[in-house]
Amino acid sequence: MATMRVNAIARDDLQWRIVYKHDRCTMCGRCLASCPFGSITAGVEKRRKVISDHLTPQPKVLFQSVPVIRQVINHQDACRGCGICEKVCPNEAIAPMLNPHGRLAIKYRSATADGYKRGGRSNLNPTGSTLDKIVIGRISQMTDPSLDAQRHTFDMLSPLGRVLPPQGLGLELKDGKLITSRPMPPMNWMYPIIIGDMSIGALSTRMWEALAIATAYLNEEVGLPVRMCTGEGGVPGPLLRSRFVRYMILQIASGHFGWNRIVNNMAHMQDDPAGVLIKIGQGAKPGDGGMLQAKKVARHIQEIRGVPKADLLSPPNHQGLYSIEESVQKMFLSLNAAFKFRVPVAIKVAASVTSVSVYNNLLRDPYNIVGGFFIDGISGGTGAAQDISLDHTGHPIVSKLRDCYLAAVHQGKQGQIPLWAGGGMGQAGNLAADAFKMICLGANGIFTGKLMLQIAGCVGQDNGKCNACNTGLCPVGICTQNPVLVKRLDIDKVAENVVNYFIATDQELKKLMAPIGNSTLPVGRSDALITTDRAIADKLNIPYAC
């Protein structure tokens, strides 16, 4: 009797099992060639066949060696369920199937003494997000007629930049007219949905480029002033030196990756960027920092970031920034100064129980220097991180955004530091609805990243499908620098899809503003929302309905 090795990894331990139909397979090899993870392999199997070639049955046993496709069984090369093999197979002969009994993450830890890593985002809300439990319940009727989304004009821009209270505005009266009498903090107006910060490096160059092209196209051809945040990995020099930089929000994060390139290019820039975003923390896997493995640090990434080929781990904190006061003095001041106080500088923090304190503190900052507060909730992120961080750290964004807004209302300072929130925006597929609800709850705008990847063709989802962003082997070329995989991504198609999605979103936003009778953004109009969930109504201070 064969020895049973119970501790070895077995097919049944894997999260995804390959269902293979030998009788359909023509051995074309496409699945093998396309599986980026090497999770399948070609092999030979001995087959016993009983045949009869007489008029009357005369069974004969035949033994044959047949070529087959087999699943690889080990914890490194485990099938990710990405479904690429199924997509390329011309004969419907192969497909991954979710194994409800999978325990790969346990096996991985016990085999490697290391945390299990993956991409994707947390699976915190498999049963539907808070935003999905809120609906727009105040519908205009006779006394406050609703608008016509097709016929009326809508005015939808949000500020990035420190908004001064009216008495603090540098305005004075001259011949009965107000004129500006002294410089004021820089302010840019933009579409209330920003393409969230995903670095060049984390994304493939082609994916990043597709987003940049979509952004430029939305601005210059469609007339939607959508801005894109660069993420911290630097920006290609030609883009920095082009006029398109005006659509970009440059990010500086704890690794400071790419900033020397930006600084070196400043003298040659012909336009200002839309803003600078200092990332203190991100919402998915806070405390883990970004995690870019050496294998993703291709030559062009080394150049843009100004680093050697090595694992690039963004520290979760900014070394040297241990207080809000210090941040204001050092970082904000220097970045403002770098762009001669013409570009708004904002901060991004992970949503947390302490984000309200940080926001309050910034609102009271006498220098009026922080031009935006980006809070990032748990459900976002492209995520290359420890499984434990993705699943077990972070803070939901909706109540935190609301807390920040109400804290500002309490001080009579709402709007002074524009609130932008992200983290799971468009999680259920509808960005306009999420944006609208967040704005009613007090956001000036939202940012979204993960959804852009989905639009580009990301095959991952919350049930652990693919989630291979950490491997550098993204099967669709979105978050990999592998030259073969990257070529799978059609830049123009991605840009087109992103543009189309935004055009649709813009129409849908109007379709939501029209019934509540508003032609400008309903920031803080929580009276337009209702929820049938008592707890959500209480927590968010919005009407309860049933």
Partner: protein, 368 residues
């Protein structure tokens, strides 16, 4: 729906003019109330323009509470006028026991104080009185201000006129500026405070419409000035924004329109004053009004104006003769009181316009 109207005249006129202006629009309101503010008073008050008048409806107990409080602050009464109440069977009105229009002398120590100090004292006194009377429900204080009288009542406007004998013209009770509303608040309970016009420190505002940005207006206004209280009606926000822009910030009236219904961004971009307009838009985003409304306002110096929402979803018309300008939700109101005017001069203000009537009765059309 409510209906609003306003009259500005070079001669003193009796409130029956306002009643007629409003009653002709009877089909457009539900007859549940009538309210008016009279400014630049004639009649018995003509010689006392500097002295504050308390306008209040109360019980006897309320009267006593008010008197005690006013005397303790140092005000001394120098005169009063009582409407000639004519109760009759079958009148649709929910009257209060007493209607008080009393004239006061400022406290001695303040007689040579600055206008600003006096104005703040008047506002604070009114708020204090209101709070005190609210505790027991013994009265409603509408205004406490020189040269201004306010009357608000629940019931049928015609019957209210009969009750206060307002149909009979009298030289005792007149003004050059009268603003009026028929129909009480749609959105909330019918309470006296919720009736337009609203008044604060010389500023009057009344509106026909719905303030869909009520919640954000209110959240912001609550912290701006201790006088911004009540909020029984979403339209009160329009008054506070007017007061804030014009008095607190000291901006010219044209910026009220820029604050309440800002120009679209693409139009701002084309303007020479774009920087100013964008700053206002960012800083006062929470004072914006979105939703259907027509607003009529009066400034402390007697300037009257009207403007509409940015989509022009509510009607308003301005008609005039040489001695009188009337603003009305419906033109039949103006037809009623100014039948012989040149109707070709009537103005139907559009969504980007502020129509201003100055004290020379010039009608100006400001384009935003």
């Amino acid at each position: 729906m409510c209906r609003i109207g306003a009259i500005k005249s070079t001669e003193y006129i009796h409130p029956s003019w306002a009643l007629r202006l409003m009653r002709s629009q009877q089909k457009g309101h539900d007859n549940s109330g009538f309210a008016m503010v009279m400014q630049d008073l004639g009649g018995v008050f003509e010689g006392y323009k500097k002295y504050p008048i308390l306008s209040m409806a109360c019980t006897e107990q309320g009267m006593k509470i008010a008197e005690d409080m006013l005397y303790s602050i140092g005000f001394s009464r120098i005169g009063q006028w009582n409407p000639e109440i004519r109760p009759a069977a079958g009148l649709n009105i929910e009257p209060m026991p007493m209607y008080v229009f009393q004239l006061f002398h400022y406290p001695k120590h303040l007689r040579s104080a600055s206008d600003r100090e006096k104005e703040d004292l008047l506002m604070d006194t009114r708020i204090k009185l209101r709070r005190e009377l609210e505790k027991t429900g013994d009265g409603f204080v509408y205004s406490f201000w020189p040269d201004t009288m306010t009357l608000k009542e629940i019931g049928d406007p015609t019957d209210i006129g009969t009750y206060f004998n307002l149909w009979e013209e009298s030289k005792d009770f007149t003004a050059k500026v009268i603003t009026a509303q028929c129909r009480q608040n749609t959105n909330y309970d019918i309470v006296r405070y919720a009736a337009h016009p609203f008044f604060l420190q010389g500023y009057t505002a009344l509106a026909n419409g719905e303030n869909t940005f009520y919640e954000k207006n209110k959240h912001f206004q609550q912290g701006l000035n201790r006088g911004y209280i009540g909020f029984e009606s979403d339209s009160q926000c329009f008054l506070y924004t007017l007061h804030y822009i014009h008095r607190e910030l000291g901006w010219p009236l044209e910026y009220y329109k820029h604050t309440a219904t800002p120009l679209p961004f693409d139009e701002i971009e084309k303007r020479a004053d774009r920087d100013v307009l964008l700053r206002i838009r960012s800083s006062l985003a929470h004072l914006e009004i979105n939703g259907p409304n027509t607003i009529i306002g009066v400034l402390p110096d007697g300037t009257m104006f009207t403007l509409c929402d940015s989509k022009k979803l509510r009607p308003v018309v301005v008609g005039r003769t040489d001695t009188m300008v009337a603003i009305s939700s419906e033109v039949n109101g103006i037809n009623e009181i100014l039948p012989n005017r040149d109707w070709k001069q009537d103005i139907y203000p559009h969504e980007r316009e502020t129509v201003v009537i100055n004290n020379d009765l010039e009608v100006l059309r400001w384009q935003q």
